[in-house]
Amino acid sequence: MVSFIAYLINGLSLGSIYAIIAIGYTMVYGIAKMLNFAHGDVIMVGAYIAFSVITTAGMPPVVGLIASMCGCMLLGICIEKIAYKPLRHAGSSLAVLITAIGVSYFLQNMALIIFTSNPKMFTSIIPMDKMTIQAGAFRIQTISLVCIAVSIVLVLLLQLFINRTRPGQAMLACSQDRGAASLMGISVNGTISLTFAIGSAMAGIAGVLLCSAYPTLSPYTGSMPGIKAFVAAVFGGIGSIPGAMIGGLLLGVIEILAKTYISSQLSDAIVFSVLIVVLLVKPTGLMGKVVQEKV
């Protein structure tokens, strides 16, 4: 029982990181209606920015986090303007999906050239001596608590932002009907840029937290957590922010428990099998809305 709880905590820790990444995924999907496959790589860029600021330039971790958020925000806006906007009216949503993959290759290879393939060890934002908290028989990683707290705060803030502020309401309107929103005088371009800015800033946070918990940083660090977070976002119902949070946490727990109790070699297969079963029972994910089709 004791070790079961330890596994559960590890799962929540991993899951909370997936959750933060998934929130960024799902936000962009909700408004721009595109699967931003480059999101994982924006996370990697964020982690490299933080690494450069904290380790290379020797600044405090907070500055690194802010630099990472700003850098990612800028990057997100640029990607949207240069690579995605020209294809917004392309007639097929697949075109922009493929461009996103191109952007993903581009970011990975750019990082490969700038930072080389030799992995870097990320300095955790949690100091060495405060890395774990002893609670009775359990050791809890401080970073897990931070991740869970950050993801909850982010979900709440985003919900507040979307429901209580004018730009948030504009985002909601755009996600429901872009044409009608623009007729109401909402700047669709501006709203989409804002969404990318927020989503990418969150990728910056995710990058710092991801690498604080799992310190190996290489140009391909973002791609696998990115795809897992994508799965988590769908799991929870893509487009739904609380869904992404729940999907991420569940995915992390299932992954760890499958590795421990069933087979460590087959854990990926098990995670994906659970996803398939969930989607067959609830075809729009756990918290997804069912959209009525009209002829």
Partner: protein, 382 residues
Amino acid sequence: MKKMKQFVSLMLTSAMAAGMMSASVFAADAFYIGASGPLTGPAANYGTAVVNAAQIAVDEINEAGGINGYQIEYKGEDDELDSEKSVNAYNALKDWGMQILLGPTTTGCAIAVAEKTKADNMFQLTPSGSGEDVTKNDNVFRVCFSDPSQGMRSAQYIGEHQLATKVGSIYDSSDAYSAGIEASFEAAAPDYGIDVAVKCAFTADSNTDFSSQLQQCADAGVELIFLPIYYTQAGTILTQARMMGLDVKFFGCDGLDGMLDMDNFEKSLAEGVMLLTPFAADADDDLTKNFVAKYQEAYGMTPNQFAADAYDGVYAIKAALEKAEATPDMEISDLCEALKTAITEIEIAGLTGEKIVWTADGEPNKDPKAVVIQDGAYVSMQ
């Protein structure tokens, strides 16, 4: 509009195909040595190390007057860690004029290319393709130890030095190198009184988090964790073990070398980690010092065992060419026949062994060194 686009695409395709039609310009005034390995993709640091280190060795040799009075022409190609791309890289090198292949870097690619070198009868020396099947053909030799021999030697070392009796292993089940060593380690363990209590796998798709594997080892109460993996993941494993307060020994193979030289690696994490590796970047013999200094100067990082294997590989080719008194105007096939015999007759002092000799079945014979990390540096164990 559709037609226009198709016309343009067709022109583009034909132009690209035409670019690949020109026959290679072949000049027999130098030895053409080609290397290949993953230069992009998640395994890029391994291939880059091989291609860079071989470049250093080639430059040194050329500066010192070449081989048998001939200079070396050298080129490295990217295989993206993929069998098919490795064959493409091999063919591209062949068009460039390659006579001797130093590569590929990894097992799967080395096996795929070995069939091609067999057909062309080209001499192939893989620096680090450690899988058992790599050297099946008689024109293929390797610089590193084979996987079964590494697993067996690790079990032997742990058993004979009584490091532990209850052992857990964490390995990458989706990687040929890691799974190969693990299997032979497990097979050999009972002979040395070692009980492999738990073996936990991870895959390339789930190599972010290792808490579950470490927890399983902790639950089983193992004294030592065997890590037949590459150093990329080792940093995370050691950090997480520290966070969990795990008090065990770690034992790894040559793949772990390079760990200390990752940017910003917290060296205290690796305190007491043991590894069986033929190369240690901070060994204090002149050869290693010279190589490490040159590598750092040229590429801004410390070389790992892949680099060392490639460096030795170039010198092995040199020694064999000199032994065979070969000249660049020989046919590729004749060169291969001459080298096949010559390499079994040479003995070189390299980075990965003071005395390396080769047997006709392609395996090197050299002493593995066991090192332990103390105060952030390798210290020889014996």
